[in-house]
């Protein structure tokens, strides 16, 4: 089955991003295909390369980054949600004259159209909300 996943909950204060990661791991293990993972609203914090976790806690951002790169998944961070929350890639940082870019490896910034496209090309769309 072709599955897309939308995450809206914050990785630091809600369970959604961890649940979504576990779901994606299980889906791939079971032989399903993941068409796209779309991060929206507070879930875009998953794309920050600057988050630091205490030593005895899992860094979910690093885990997601490693996961999407290992499986070469299409992982899209909603650009409108991201800009508001200070998640920028190099071109957005240059465009808005910000001092740094911080988008984690493996993710790309794009619009809601990517989510609609995922809906059109997937058998199932599973949301992990706040």
């Amino acid at each position: 089955m072709i599955i897309s996943v939308m995450v809206t909950g914050s990785p630091v204060s809600q369970q959604a991003a961890q649940s979504a990661l576990s779901f994606c791991e299980a889906a791939l293990c079971a032989g399903h295909q993941i068409y796209r993972v779309f991060f929206y609203e507070d879930a875009v914090y998953v794309g920050s390369a600057l988050s630091v976790s205490p030593q005895d806690e899992r860094n979910l951002n690093a885990a997601w980054s490693e996961f999407v790169q290992r499986h070469q998944l299409d992982a899209v961070i909603c650009v409108a949600s991201a800009l508001k929350r200070g998640i920028l890639n190099n071109s957005e940082a240059t465009r808005y004259q910000k001092p740094a870019a911080n988008l984690e490896a493996g993710f790309e910034l794009s619009g809601l159209g990517q989510w609609v496209d995922a809906c059109l090309n997937s058998d199932r769309v599973v949301s992990f909300g706040a």
């Binding site: 409108a80 159209g113 609609v116 909300g129």
Partner: protein
């Protein structure tokens, strides 16, 4: 074409959920999909006319409800019991909506390809 159903369940101000849902509805409409936009629970407050959120430093995102027709979003519903619980009627709303029961909502969800609740 797919049928995408959106359940707007949060109050219009106090969180970004209402705008997040509206933006998804508009994006889906731009892609010319069949869109059902359902207001339920505290989400019915999004439909109420006369909001003046400038006083709390918020933007009146729900002013865009008026533009839904232009985007071709014609299937707009409010869960009747959510309105009733809040002592709201159609007369309080800024756009015409179809009232639906829980059973009708259930059928709507059943007939949808993708359901998103925000």
């Amino acid at each position: 074409m797919k049928t995408l159903t959106f359940l707007a369940r949060q109050a219009p101000f106090g969180s970004s959920s209402a705008k997040a849902c509206l933006d998804m509805v508009l994006a889906s409409a731009v892609f010319e999909q069949q869109v059902n936009y359902v207001f339920m629970d505290d989400g019915v407050w999004q439909l109420v006319r006369g909001h003046a959120p400038e006083g709390i430093g918020a933007k009146n995102v729900m002013a865009a409800l008026q533009a839904l027709e232009l985007y071709g979003v014609e299937h707009i519903y409010a869960l009747e019991e959510s309105l009733t619980e809040r002592q709201l009627t159609q007369a309080h709303l800024q756009i015409p909506v179809r009232l639906c029961s829980r059973a009708e909502l259930s059928a709507l969800v059943q007939s949808s390809d993708v359901v998103t609740a925000l």
